[in-house]
Symmetry: C2
Subunit: 227 residues, 2 copies
């Protein structure tokens, strides 16, 4: 295991409640980002918050996003605006015997910082191909690479993974003695993002399906349909 | 089908790109909110954006959240601060033959507005029990209701579902004639949030498992473990 520097805790990232769920370990946080297919990017526009979903990916200590060149998401991620990037993986539903102890199992990450544009064409292309490999390991070398025009029409930006942290909830439901007379099932129900049977394009049905990331590849449904 | 008033489109909610994916239909937007177990709430704190994940639920035209009384999320949702609430359901991975046409299938909602506190104890309790029923239909009447002390320690707030809209992507991968020589599988892989086998608390293993929402109940894995 590499010995990675932890993320930086600041007054605004410090958990005020359930600090036991907090985590600054970079390997843990990297793993959450690597599994997330959606993140929510917050910025301030004309004094009001805007939160937009997009697909994040990671290269080293940087979280990357992309979009149409000139889109407000890419502009805000490329400039000097303060950003907050938040993502959450859902792991389960937690059913307690009392109403207010119901909860969720999750792994979430909240990051603060400012972004920067990735404009140099080779760097930009490398970054975008890395996103393809996140969706399907090894696929980037099998598809048609971006043309100059496509690259110019696409904006890529990144933010350093530095200030922030993860919050992880995985405990069984809380219960006190006054809850015990309530004869109702309690426990947790795991939630898993599964891949269903691939739907090939008309002209590619004869080709082998594309590999999936390990957290999808190992899903029971995916096994059923694996070629 | 009820005839519900559409959401309100404003300059900041209007889609600048892929307007064909936009949707203001309230029934569609309600269904996305009802299925979402996580939303991301954005607010501005000291000039900088903050985006926090929480579990949303809906009653009529209002989106509700809860948290510890006095937490910054509840405070911001209860006050006059401008808010942006964003949520995204992931439906699939889209694999094209060209790098830059890879994408995701999703249903997302972005809402703008200001929140208000739900302080009256009966209203607050009704709202919290409605959240339980979102996680497990009919369960709220089976569990120990909130005590006065528990209610006082919990903050509930809501925002009217009014300004904003949904964006829905469900198309097969784009392909141009220059992509056709690339002999690589293309198509989409559906993603589904599945429930795994319930994990009962020690003292409730003999009781029947709790019902799940229909979109989880119908999942193939869930069928396997259904009691």
């Amino acid at each position: 295991m590499e010995d990675l520097p932890s993320l930086v805790s600041t007054p605004r990232t410090k958990l005020k409640r359930r600090a036991d769920r907090g985590c600054l370990d970079r390997a843990t946080i990297n793993a959450i980002i690597d599994e997330a297919l959606v993140c929510h990017i917050g910025f301030v526009d004309d004094g009001a918050p805007v939160v937009l979903p997009t697909c994040p990916w990671r290269m080293g200590d940087w979280l990357y996003v992309h979009g149409a060149a000139g889109s407000s998401l890419v502009e805000k991620m490329s400039g000097k605006s303060p950003l907050c990037i938040s993502l959450a993986l859902l792991d389960g539903l937690v059913f307690a015997r009392s109403a207010l102890r119901h909860s969720l199992h999750y792994r979430s990450v909240v990051l603060f910082g400012r972004g920067e544009a990735v404009d140099e064409p080779t760097e930009k292309s490398t970054a975008l191909l890395s996103l393809i490999d996140k969706l399907s390991p090894g696929r980037s070398s099998m598809v048609r690479p971006p043309s100059e025009g496509e690259l110019a029409a696409t904006g890529v930006a990144r933010m350093r993974i530095e200030e922030g942290g993860a919050k992880i909830a995985a405990s069984p439901p809380g219960e006190t003695t006054i809850d015990q007379p309530w004869q109702v099932w309690s426990g947790s129900v795991p939630l898993v993002l599964n891949a269903g049977p691939p739907v090939p394009s008309r002209n590619s049905a004869a080709l082998g399906a594309t590999p999936l990331p390990s957290w999808l590849e190992s899903s029971p449904i995916r096994q059923t349909f694996k070629r």
